[in-house]
């Protein structure tokens, strides 16, 4: 009987030890100095991988129906995010300031429309995001190329993307709705529509500059992280003080690749 109790106590202690080791290894720790870069991002749904598999595999075709718990995850942007993670977040270079840059997912969508006549319309959605490692609020205007047959309405067409560094702020990525209406009966054939980003209007930028300046930023955390990489408190103090709450007109640096290509075949 005594031996049995001893064995039970032994097993109990071993169990506690395994649980403790598991806790130490598996539970991510956040020290007082460590920034939680993803605090504003909703919890990732546990079927996230299944959804992204279907979305980018073509099984789930209506991007407008996808809820923000999915598209607000950096992982939603696939290898784009994987490429950026090491570059900008694991070993950030505080001597450089990510000022410009943007991306859009998906890059290209193709549709076939049958029986599409004057006045008919359909909607699609896309996800426009600030560049990874960018610590500015970037204003953009989204525009479509002129087309004889299609009227294209983009909502929102003027917007500000929030920073993705040092933390992902609300609004770092946004769902864009594109409504396409036939201006007239469209002859059969293939048509290419292009969506691009340019700088927003001067008045928009003026208002956004004021709005961004009124924001509250917990920059002490950023200074601590900067110091942990540059080991120069004065320089970090100066850098962070000059970088915080900065609005810039995006679209200054352009990719010749359009933000989104839409291929439409009329039958």
């Amino acid at each position: 009987m005594k031996n049995k109790i001893k064995v039970m106590i032994f097993v109990f202690i071993i169990g506690i030890m395994i649980a403790l080791i598991g806790y130490i290894i598996l539970i991510p720790k956040t020290t007082a100095n460590e920034i939680n870069r993803f605090e504003t991002i909703p919890e990732k749904p546990n079927d996230f991988d299944a959804y992204t598999r279907e979305i980018w595999g073509g099984g789930l075709t209506d991007l407008c129906e996808i809820s923000e718990e999915y598209w607000m995850q950096p992982e939603f942007y696939g290898s784009t995010w994987e490429n950026a993670k090491q570059q900008f977040y694991t070993q950030p270079d505080y001597s450089m300031w990510g000022v410009y840059g943007q991306g859009n997912m998906p890059r290209e969508i193709s549709y076939t429309l049958t029986g599409f006549k004057k006045g008919n319309e359909f909607e699609l959605c896309t996800f426009f995001h600030n560049g990874f490692g960018v610590w500015t609020y970037q204003g953009f205007k989204l525009i479509a190329n002129e087309n004889e047959y299609f009227d294209i309405k983009i909502t929102p067409n003027e917007l500000t993307m929030s920073p993705t560094f040092p933390v992902f702020e609300n609004g770092w990525t946004q769902k864009i709705t594109i409504k396409i209406t036939a201006k007239k009966d469209i002859p059969e054939g293939s048509y290419n529509l292009i969506i691009n980003s340019i700088s927003p209007s001067f008045d928009y930028s003026k208002e956004e500059t004021k709005r961004v300046l009124q924001m509250t930023v917990d920059k002490d955390k950023y200074k601590e992280e900067c110091y942990s990489f540059l080991n120069n408190f004065e320089r970090c103090d100066w850098l962070i003080n000059h970088r915080e709450k900065k609005y810039v007109a995006g679209g200054t640096y352009q990719s010749s690749e359009p933000l989104l290509k839409l291929g439409i075949t009329i039958k």
Partner: protein, 164 residues
């Protein structure tokens, strides 16, 4: 993410089965079918040195030579800008100015040494013919001034990228 292509199936039953893909109005029936979606993007990030959001040259005199832009430090290997291809296709990067200014010559290099065979002006010039995904390109600049005008002269600098 690899390029994904979904080949269209034109069977009527299949199209009707794709909820949310088609729209239908009895007075004006039509169908919308997605053929394919390319789940990738050509995103990029441009980082500037220090606290710069523009590239500013401040010559000490009207004839200063090999002036570095503010915050660039070629001796310390700090470029004025780094361009990172965060997308998932190779990019060819070029740059240019919208006008050529007669009192200043600007050279550029992806290394921290001056190379006056690489001139930045209103003619498009190559930064790198093929930047792979997740790679970064540094850009250093220097300016030679000759009887420069006083005051501020603003010139638009543009980076272009195409898939390589």
């Amino acid at each position: 993410m690899n390029r994904k292509i979904l080949v269209i199936l034109t069977g009527l039953m299949f199209m009707f089965g794709m909820a949310g893909v088609y729209a239908y109005d009895s007075s004006s029936p039509y169908t919308v079918t997605m053929n394919f979606i390319v789940g990738e993007d050509t995103s990029f990030t441009v980082a500037l040195a220090g606290i710069e959001t523009t590239i500013d040259f401040n010559p000490a005199t009207a004839n200063s030579k090999e002036v570095e832009p503010d915050s660039q430090d070629d001796g310390g290997s700090t470029p004025i800008e780094t361009i990172t291809n965060t997308g998932n296709v190779n990019l060819a990067l070029t740059h240019e100015l919208n006008v050529t200014t007669d009192f200043v010559d600007v050279s550029y290099n992806t290394a921290n040494t001056v190379d006056w065979t690489k001139i930045l002006n209103s003619t498009t010039s190559s930064i790198n013919a093929s930047v792979p995904s997740s790679e970064t390109v540094d850009v250093y600049m220097w300016a030679n001034f000759t009887a420069a005008d006083s005051g501020t002269t603003a010139v638009l600098y543009q980076i272009n990228s195409t898939t390589a």
